[in-house]
Symmetry: C3
Subunit: 275 residues, 3 copies
């Protein structure tokens, strides 16, 4: 059993300050979901700014969704400084496998920075762990979904990747696979419509950073709880959709659902299995 | 008659992957409307990333709303690579005529890249086609609206510009003028309140790229259908506004309306005339 | 008494065109609130573009929320050009005190550009005026809230800072303190939940620039009215929240409330005191 209640309580009580070096596509949603869950966001991506900013924060969220030379250098600097300070650092390797720059940047980050968490879809995590490449852009290859048939091989490779990197690995999709190399958590919260919004993955990464920052003695449980919370918010928000609502309102409702999420909802709504 | 039904069906069936090099103001809305219409977005604007990314996509949307040296170079590289691959490329010359950098960048893009579609307001298209300049920023000059009196001259210059560039020209405003140099489509869908939201033009450009990408044998019809769909979404969304709703909710409702748009709605709601 | 009615009327009648060099986190909200209040936004942050763009605008909003070498140079250029043209310029020193780059950039801006308005939370304004630093990131230190006990010292230092810079100083928080060095306005509109949305400060700065641009003979009254309007929108929007709504819907409702704000609402809802 994961004590999701105490994990959430710690976030709400500690207001973890999260430094985000993230893409400009979903950055506003990342900031608002951090505020919704009880954290506090700062965005800063310039080489001359990131070390100071990360020093006053509790955790660091690195998302490679839109990269350039300056922000890549900033990611390295901020990651190393966070490591020195003992802050948890999360990597969201958006589009790893889809371009050389993204794959190589993610690989270089893995070499130079020690990550507490790596969260991506299966195509991205495979690209990092196995060097494979996708041709479907920043969304997971359909051929790559986690299902009953490949579950064993996916958990095996996730565990191996976790042991190699020392990070909690979170492969998110219809079924989410979270592992710290020993334990594995399969989570089935969520709704298919979440893939019709830009940034559900980015928002989850931002939120997971806050959860780990506020629960540094339990990173595995913190990541699992963040993934459950995001999926549950997707379910709650979906239940709220009127006939005229589409993906834009859905996005707002998901952030709203995180804002209003109670420990009771989280405990009662969590759908997971620990292997 | 434009077979709007089959155009929309093709978008929904093919999930066109669209590479966007676009401004950071409305980028999130562009991503969400691409998902809403049935496409899939990728954003990438660094010189070291864009060729790889555009290669795995089906179409390219170039929007010059916020430029810098690096993104301008990225636009040239991505445009040329897309041309080599036979991908349709759309130009949205935001603010052409409002600054030298914007006008010159748009002109340089026209020289170095072959565009399938150019979409802008009349001030922007005039700046490109005739070298005229505006003093009203990124919104169309009031003096420049398409109306009964200037319709003939506007369609004539749009046709000439289409023949010169080889692109479908879409001049959007209260009345939209679309031409492939031979045919002209006048569209009167839409609502004046759409001009009180940032990004309706940018969103339309992103969506039009998806429509053309999924209907490469019919770029003129695809652009007309995208313009009709956007205008119709503006009407549907407006019908949904409560007394307390303003432009922010309106933005969400427009994206929602695209998400829920059916072929029937599109056929029945389309208001256009082919000249 | 502040003639809030005529201030708002001038904004609605003149459609002030505001050039924004602002962070990419909240830029979309800034654009939409400018449109909501009756203004018109342009974003441009490249050294090669800003002088042309600011020349066709009426006012300039400089927000240092996400900085880099290029945008810092652009701020200096645009600020100086605006000064030459007699356009009002507003500074929002986001995160001043939280990093060297932010503090030094804000200080350099104060040296090289003449500001009509400086708006920030108390930690940021203190960092600028007194060289003090915070460790709480971009949000105001709890220890730094304006309250009955420190009100006298806060107004004294705000007045001194106003006299030193020649700018209207707006320190916003639970109680807002606005001063032009002589007059002081204390405003108590607003709702605590506004701090759970990213960008309420940024949006207010954008809107205040529009208000000052449309009321250049009354900058103090214009800033006060913008602050009152933002706070009142926060109250109106809060009254609209359903049980399921959270901070994301709240953000939309605030912009909506500005869109629908009438002169009557503003006059009747204003809660301020002139010292």
């Amino acid at each position: 059993m994961i004590d999701v209640r105490s994990i959430l309580d710690n976030v709400r009580r500690n207001t973890p300050l999260v430094h985000n070096i993230t893409n400009y596509v979903t950055v506003n949603d990342c900031a608002n979901i951090l505020l919704a869950c009880g954290g506090s966001p700062i965005m800063s991506d310039d080489v001359a700014d990131v070390e100071d900013i990360t020093s006053i924060c509790g955790g660091l969220n690195i998302n490679i969704g839109t990269l350039n030379k300056n922000t890549i250098s900033a990611m390295m600097l901020a990651g190393k400084r966070s490591n020195e300070l003992g802050h948890p650092v999360l990597l969201d390797p958006v589009g790893a496998g889809a371009s050389r720059l993204r794959t190589e940047t993610a690989e270089r980050l893995l070499k130079e920075v020690r990550f507490a968490v790596i969260r991506g879809n299966i195509s991205e995590i495979k690209a990092l762990a196995q060097g494979s490449t996708t041709t479907k852009g920043v969304d997971a290859d359909a051929a790559d979904q986690v299902n009953a048939e490949n579950l064993d091989s996916v958990t095996a490779f996730a565990k191996a990747f976790s042991l190699k990197t020392g990070a909690v690995i979170a492969i998110t999709g219809a079924t989410d696979v979270i592992t710290d190399g020993t334990r594995v958590c399969l989570i089935s919260n969520g709704h298919p419509m979440m893939s019709r919004i830009t940034g559900t993955g980015c928002m989850l990464s931002a939120m997971a950073t806050a959860f780990v920052t506020a629960n540094q003695d339990r990173p595995f449980e913190a990541v699992c709880t963040a993934v459950i919370a995001m999926g549950l918010a997707g379910e709650i928000a979906h239940g709220r959709l009127s006939e005229l609502d589409g993906n834009s309102s859905y996005r707002n409702y998901i952030i709203d659902a995180i804002y209003n999420l109670t420990a009771e909802q989280l405990e009662n709504g969590a759908k997971y299995e620990l292997l």
